[in-house]
Subunit: 182 residues, 2 copies
């Protein structure tokens, strides 16, 4: 969040902030950005499959293939958020979350940071999902998803990055290797 | 854009739209999303280098390394936008734009589509940049950028995807190969 801005609209999970920009002729333009608490993106490994979702997205009025992900609550610990979203969206809990990095989704108009985790050691432990989420689980083999991320069939930004980073990690480590936390 | 929404805030390049969601108890929640005209993301090849930018981003109050990119005007042709943004941000025009796909940056709260292009055959032909953009060119060898996209040093989502797709394309084609358009 940039302090030289003010809230224009308060939403249930993020706000719209606006800030003035002075043009060369002295007139002022008001620009906006999304003030976002951040999100987790999960790559849940179940055998050789990644548990993907098909989820309806209102903004584009389409059902798309994507990784499980969710918005963090403002003061929520990132790993608590990761476990909660995994259980809500897939019905699994993970015994280990391995960080695959932090990425800005759209820094031109949003301060959202996406924390990406490889989630391993899955066992069934569902949590009730958000009432307005329409989600269908759709596991896919990781090599097929790498092809889809590369050739353009996968079109969701966070999912492309999560899949390619997970595949690279697994080429160099076993899923039970270092850097894990739970 | 989803028709079952209304404009809450009109910005210079995109709008905030809101829509009602009814909770199970009958009360109504108002959710929002960014109604965006789309953007181009460019991977400009200059010899063995990709012309990257260091650019200040207000939302996160940081200067970050990223690919040249820019918002489309509402009725603008995508390739016209690609050439315009390339000239404005890097001072080069390209003789060829090769599509590397279309990606949603943040479909949970934005309908932005990013059209990614490999830009080849560069020659100097600057266009005046937007008055409020502070940009420094910073060419990097493509193999170094692939490492940075994979190991987490590159943190801008569109740039990670653009670099990895460009590297895959160039492994399979020469830059002057098929699918080009200008």
């Amino acid at each position: 969040m940039n302090r030289e801005s003010r809230i224009q609209w308060k939403g249930p999970s993020w706000d719209l902030r606006v800030y003035p920009v002075t043009r060369p002729d002295g007139t002022v333009l008001e620009k906006g950005y999304v003030d976002h608490p951040g999100a987790v993106v999960l790559v849940p490994l179940l055998g050789d499959d990644v548990v993907m979702l098909r989820q309806y997205r209102f903004s584009i009025d389409e059902t798309i293939l994507e990784l499980p992900a969710g918005t963090r609550e403002r003061e929520e610990n990132w790993l608590v958020c990761a476990q909660r979203e995994l259980r809500e969206e897939t019905g699994y809990r993970a015994s280990s979350f391995i960080s695959l990095g932090h990425v800005w989704s759209a820094p031109g108009y949003s301060d959202e940071v996406m924390a990406i985790y490889l989630a391993t050691g899955l066992s069934r432990d569902p949590l009730k999902a958000d009432f307005d989420e329409i989600i269908e689980l759709q596991p896919h083999p990781l090599p097929e998803l790498v092809e889809m991320a590369t050739d353009g069939r996968l079109r969701d930004g966070k999912s492309i990055i999560g899949i390619l980073r997970a595949a690279d990690f697994l080429r160099h480590h076993s899923p039970s290797a270092s850097d894990s936390a739970s």
